[in-house]
């Protein structure tokens, strides 16, 4: 359920945040606990790049009214959390979602694909679908649009937020 009546009290346009108070880092640490070391490093490297880009965009776009207005509902803390979920989705859940689809080919439905110690069969694919579905429900609860998860860069996240804001204003 989307929290339509959310109003966010954070400071939009705030460009710096101490690491200890960065909610994106906290979310990423929670989600990344136990993942493969190389993925863990990649998660934080991507997050670092995304938040650096965010700082640059917020500083550069100070004068752009449409961005500032679109980000009224998106204080920096919320953008950081969105970046953290984006990193997790892109590097961990995305590839799993690819393998979670229903197996249409009849001969394969009775098979288990053995990839090293990993075994993937239609039942496992279904349990992956359940996990992806729960992730989507969580994003819905937090009012983070799915299109922000597939964004390649922070610039793209801001672009998509701005586009949604523009469309909403045109409708009104």
């Amino acid at each position: 359920v989307l929290d339509e009546d959310c109003s966010f009290g954070g400071k939009a346009g705030m460009t710096t945040m101490p690491a200890s108070e960065d909610p994106g880092l906290i979310v990423l640490r929670v989600l990344g606990k136990g993942v493969d070391a190389s993925i863990y490093v990649a998660l934080f490297r991507r997050y670092d790049l995304m938040t650096r880009e965010l700082r640059y965009i917020l500083q550069r776009n100070d004068a752009r009214m449409s961005v500032a207005a679109a980000l009224t509902d998106w204080p920096t803390e919320r953008l950081h959390v969105a970046c953290a979920f984006n990193c997790f989705y892109q590097l961990v859940l995305g590839p799993l979602e690819a393998a979670s689809r229903k197996w249409k080919s009849k001969p394969f439905r009775a098979l288990t694909i053995a990839h090293g110690s990993l075994h993937l069969d239609p039942d496992r694919a279904m349990s992956l679908r359940v996990m992806i579905n729960q992730f989507d429900i969580m994003m819905n609860r937090l009012a983070i649009p799915a299109e922000l998860l597939s964004a390649a860069t922070t610039g793209e996240i801001i672009f998509r937020i701005e586009r949604r804001w523009r469309e909403r204003n045109e409708d009104e």
Partner: protein, 250 residues
């Protein structure tokens, strides 16, 4: 809801999700990228299901043994026969290709469709694993289409890298012979499967590449449609079997 409250809710939700599904999503990086590749394998099999009979081969009981590295002997792993009335093709993963351009140009596409005549050659080379392991490869002369799977966002250098593989893996690019570019073809042209989405100039670049070359770049596969048959713009190939070729009588 104030920002602090929302942040608290986000962290609590993330914790609940991680506690419930950590076991499901925690795996070595190689297996994670393998999962994306398995998704692409299924998409490709579904594409072929319309015109070919799908026959998994070399199984171990009910297990399809997925070759994960070019070091493995392909004879010990499973593959898929794509059977049509005219010819049978093989769909394999991680089989090294030796290029028609030069014997020393060897590389390993993620997925490859081979002619029935293709055979895996094994040689010993002191420059490979000190000559202690065999070097397996298939000649690119037998390659119908080599496909790559990247669970990334597309970027220009990735796309151009795929063009290199397209040129080196497909002898029909320079000398079409019995494999030709055809919108009615039953084979998918060499395809780069990409997990992430493209935007702006990258979208234009993808479109331009598939105009200039007989290849496809399918993006947004983490979330997008995996039904390749729905996409009428995909480039296809026709493979003329020996029996189907017109006789050249004087």
């Amino acid at each position: 809801m104030k920002t602090n409250e929302w942040v608290g809710k986000a962290i609590a939700n993330a914790k609940r999700f991680a506690d419930s599904y950590r076991v499901e999503y925690t795996m070595p990086e190689r297996q994670l990228s393998g999962m994306f590749e398995i998704g692409c394998l299924h998409a490709l099999i579904d594409f072929y299901s319309d015109d070919f009979e799908i026959q998994p081969r070399n199984l171990s009981g009910d297990r399809f043994l997925y070759l994960t590295s070019p070091s493995g002997n392909p004879a010990n792993f499973s593959y898929v026969d794509l059977v049509s009335a005219a010819e049978t093709f093989q769909l394999r993963q991680q089989v090294r290709i030796r290029s028609h351009l030069h014997d020393d140009i060897c590389f390993t596409p993620d997925l490859v469709v081979l002619r029935e005549s293709a055979s895996v050659t094994a040689i010993t080379d002191v420059l490979f694993a000190g000559g202690k392991r065999r070097f397996f490869f298939v000649s690119s002369e037998h390659v119908v289409a080599a496909h790559e799977c990247k669970s990334l966002n597309p970027f220009p250098e990735l796309l151009i890298g795929f063009v290199g593989m397209y040129v080196a893996a497909h002898s029909w690019v320079d000398a079409p012979g019995d494999i030709i570019d055809s919108s009615d073809g039953t084979h998918l042209a060499p395809t780069l499967f990409v997990g992430g989405t493209a935007r702006g100039v990258h979208v234009r670049m993808l479109s331009a590449l598939s105009k200039v070359f007989c290849l496809n770049v399918v993006t947004g596969l983490h979330r997008g449609s995996w039904n390749l048959l729905e996409n009428k713009e995909l480039r296809r190939l026709e493979v003329r079997s020996a029996e189907a070729e017109p006789s050249e009588e004087p």
